[in-house]
């Protein structure tokens, strides 16, 4: 997917020359994609756009890998008796179950740590954030590249784990199972540890960038909401991830040296591990959703051609969610044996997160009211998001209620809940954002027709996959089960069929996106009529992001543009001066 495949190697313009040319030729200068095109120019690039693209390729490949494991899991669960595990594990019933356990662990860990946490912030965020700010780059480009290589390194550990017998602890690495499991727990944990630092440095970079590199005239309340979202996210990344780091370090030490902090056999306390794990991993779920919400704020406003409704409420609610997210972790442990008092407190606080989320949902809907809605692919993803997030969020409320969670904890209801919020919301927003910014990133338009079809397939497949899981979960089907009672089979079968439909949708997406790189229409500067700064520079942008120095616009002043059906571009008098 990288453009250097098709580029002629060795167009080795020195950057000085590039700058001169770009100044001379103004609009038609080389883009960041074509400016130099050797392998090393990509590997050692400090350009946030290239780093973003590399993340994107990495994250999407990992999504494919995680998705393959999901399909294996789903296929196996089509029937309560061993179905496909015998193909890989032979006749030994124990080995079959072990294999299944490795599948869902690998699936969960890849999706969480390699796909969805870096997804929006690192892949999309890296590309868009400096553009939205009108900056030339993030504050620390070298650190940014470092983060990317840390990500690669973490991914390499996971791939190594796959080839060295897998890991079967569940993505939560609960002790003492994780200290006694014979599988490759340590490499997996090291991988997660490294990915944690990748995430920390990305967050750190973004905070500084947003604080210090806003252009003249851009106040905090003049920023696109995506920036508020990434900012809030970055705060969580910087403050919560180190705790995961130290916890994982201790887990490794527990496994190797038996230091006796988590393992009851050595005098440790497994519940303590859970506290520390969720102290990170609960905020982590908001690392996934807040930037996704930021993407949705952009998509909904731009494609409705209407000023975002309740700007300040959306902005503040991002911050509120980030803050509250730090104090609700105990809701994952209602049945673990922590004290009754703690349960009550955590349950109470849990609901506080629902309120800012509600505010966002309603403001998005109000934005659509009396808009001029283009039901194109990005917008369809945006609308899917609102619907799916509502379901995911509302089912989160069931889980926050103490008495109900006692029944629902560790059942498929929880599985369905978090797929609605992680896959149905965060990932859908990621894919939506991918479409929204695709023309800007690649300079190509994708095929709208297939885009809409694929989005519809994903939407239908997704609901078909996970609605039955709610039902069987509340009926008592525990999660992480390789085999189950016959009465649940019908739900599992529906779910499996749904996952195939969804897979077709995603493969279709991959197909037309790659096809657009080869033969897509050239993208105009502003194909959707957005007014944030990235739409004021050519698609794809030049190396320095902007020709000249951009000055802040009102990102949501969207009715000033006129659409030119020939070029597919939105333009206006007032924005011309910027180019």
């Amino acid at each position: 997917m990288k453009p250097d495949d098709k580029a002629s190697a060795g167009s080795d313009l020195s950057s000085q020359e590039v700058e001169q040319t770009s100044q001379e030729t103004k609009i038609s200068g080389p883009s960041y994609l074509t400016v130099t095109n050797t392998l090393t120019s990509w590997m050692f690039t400090l350009d946030h756009k290239r780093i973003g693209l590399m993340y994107l390729v990495g994250v999407l490949s990992m999504f494919l890998l995680g998705g393959v494991f999901a399909l294996l899991v789903r296929t196996e669960l089509f029937s309560p008796i061993p179905l496909i595990t015998p193909l890989f594990a032979g006749d030994d019933a124990g080995a079959q179950a072990d294999l299944y356990n490795q599948w869902f662990t690998t699936h969960g860990a890849i999706m969480v740590f390699l796909v969805i946490i870096p997804g929006v912030p690192a892949a999309l965020g890296n590309f868009v954030l400096p553009l939205l700010l009108g900056a030339k780059d993030v504050a620390f480009p070298r650190l940014n590249l470092g983060s990317f290589y840390l990500w690669m390194c973490g991914a390499a550990f996971f791939v190594y784990v796959l080839f060295s017998g897998g890991v079967d602890t569940g993505w939560t690495f609960y002790t003492p199972y994780s200290t006694s499991s014979p599988t490759a727990v340590i490499p997996a944990v090291v991988g997660v540890f490294i990915l944690g630092f990748s995430s920390i440095f990305t967050g750190l970079n973004f905070i500084v960038t947003i604080h210090k590199m806003r252009p003249k005239g851009m106040t905090w309340f003049n920023m696109p909401l995506f920036l508020w979202a990434t900012y809030s996210t970055a705060v969580i990344q910087v403050l919560a991830t180190p705790v995961l780091g130290i916890t994982l370090l201790l887990l490794i030490l527990e496994r190797t040296l038996g230091i006796g902090i988590f393992d009851p056999q050595n005098g440790g306390d497994p519940v303590l591990y859970q506290h520390f794990f969720w102290f990170y991993s609960h905020p982590a779920v908001y690392i996934m959703i807040i930037p996704a919400m930021g993407v949705i704020s952009e998509i909904i406003a731009v494609h409705s051609h209407k000023r975002i409704f309740g700007y300040r409420y959306i902005a503040y609610s991002s911050v509120a969610i980030a803050i509250f997210s730090f104090i609700v972790w105990g809701h994952h442990m209602f049945t673990s044996g922590q004290s009754t008092m703690m349960n009550i407190i955590f349950s109470g606080i849990t609901f506080s997160v629902g309120i800012p989320s509600a505010i966002k949902v309603f403001n998005w809907i109000a934005t659509m009211y009396k808009g001029s809605i283009n039901l194109n692919t990005s917008m369809l993803y945006g609308i899917s998001f609102i619907f799916l997030f509502t379901i995911g969020g509302l089912t989160g409320l069931f889980l926050g209620v103490l008495s109900i969670d006692t029944h629902l904890h560790d059942t498929y209801f929880v599985v369905a809940h978090f797929h609605y919020v992680m896959m149905g919301s965060a990932l859908i927003a990621f894919v939506g954002g991918l479409h929204h910014w695709w023309p800007k990133m690649t300079g190509r338009m994708f095929n709208e027709f297939w885009g809409r079809i694929a989005c519809t397939l994903v939407f239908i497949g997704f609901n078909l996959t996970f609605i039955p899981q709610f039902v069987m979960g509340s009926l008592g089907m525990p999660r992480r089960y390789y085999s189950y009672e016959d009465k649940f089979q019908i739900y599992h079968q529906l779910s499996t069929i749904g996952s195939y439909v969804m897979a077709v949708g995603f493969f279709l997406t991959a197909f037309y996106l790659i096809q657009s790189l080869v033969s897509g229409k050239k993208a105009p500067m502003n194909p959707w009529g957005g007014n944030s700064l990235e739409w004021h520079t050519p698609s794809p942008p030049p190396l320095e992001n902007f020709h000249g120095v951009p000055s802040a616009t009102d990102p949501y002043e969207l009715d000033q543009f006129d659409y030119d059906p020939v070029t597919g571009n939105y333009s206006s008098q007032s924005s011309k001066g910027l180019a």
Binding site: S336, A358, F398, V401
Partner: protein, 363 residues
Amino acid sequence: MMQFLTSSFQSLATQTGPTFWLPEAVSNFAPTVDGDFYFVYWVSIFFLVLITALLILFMWKYSAPEGQKATSQNDHNLVLEIAWTGIPVILSLMMFWYGYKGYVAMATPPANAMVITAEAAKWSWNFSYPASGTVVSGASEDFNEIRNALRSGELTAEQAAEREAKVLEKAGLHVPVNTPVQVNVLAADVLHSLFIPAFRVKKDCVPGRIGQLWFEATEPGVYSLYCSEYCGQGHSAMHSKVVVHPSQEDFDKWLAVAASYDETLPFTELGEIVWKRKGCVSCHSLDGAMKTGPTWKGLFGSERKYTENGTLGSAIADESYIEESIRYPMKKISDGYTGQMPVVKLTDKEILWVTEFIKSLRQ
């Protein structure tokens, strides 16, 4: 006894049978939990329908071709903001309150509750009734076998129910109806969790801690019991049954039977019963298959290589070797295995019987 069990398998799902969303509701908590559930459920349905309706309406009404301008650029409305902040606040406070009330009841067992201990180990349950000192197993293995036989058509539904009833005569979690029961949960190795959907109760079994849950079953019958905290290979096979007896007498009768071995049986058969009842079955096969522990087929009299305190050794598996293996499983670790065998407390008699049983599996 037997009739009660068989008939209760058939009569499951009567008045309080499962609904579309929730399983049969047969404990004192079930009505509260279900009430809470449906409260949140209807609130959610309301918002979901509202939001979906608005989305569809707006998609339909305001969809426009590229280039058309929006008819309004209005971007705020304080009344709306207050409404959609305030209403969720109130609703979620209510949710919290109901959940809190329901949960506090669950968390405080009454003082007069009958106490049972449930001990989880990879991958079996043992239930002990301290009042009589009886330990019965969860018999996960038997239930799995029956399930498989049923699936493969070896057994008809009736036969399966009969077999389950037979197993349940000496296994499973048994409680009398309408009596508060407190279950203390323990774990021998890793985390497990005791989950009885029909009672809406669940508690993690944490090694090194004693957890507790309680309930009062309201309807005689047989219900599923699962391990719901991931515990490795046999996690999904670690299930058992709860039997609610129609009366205290019925329960007492069962307990008396469960506590006893039919000592008129030959030792080897008694040994087999121990093998099943005490959970050896989950790790030791009789047919040579490798499981977590070495198979017992041909074990007796064979030469065993082991590690003891880091040094290698070997011995012939004779009576005393087996006794030692059972009493101090961590002492000699057989080659090819890790020291995963728990200490299962067997009486002298039981050890004798098991040894005879293992002997009988000699080649």
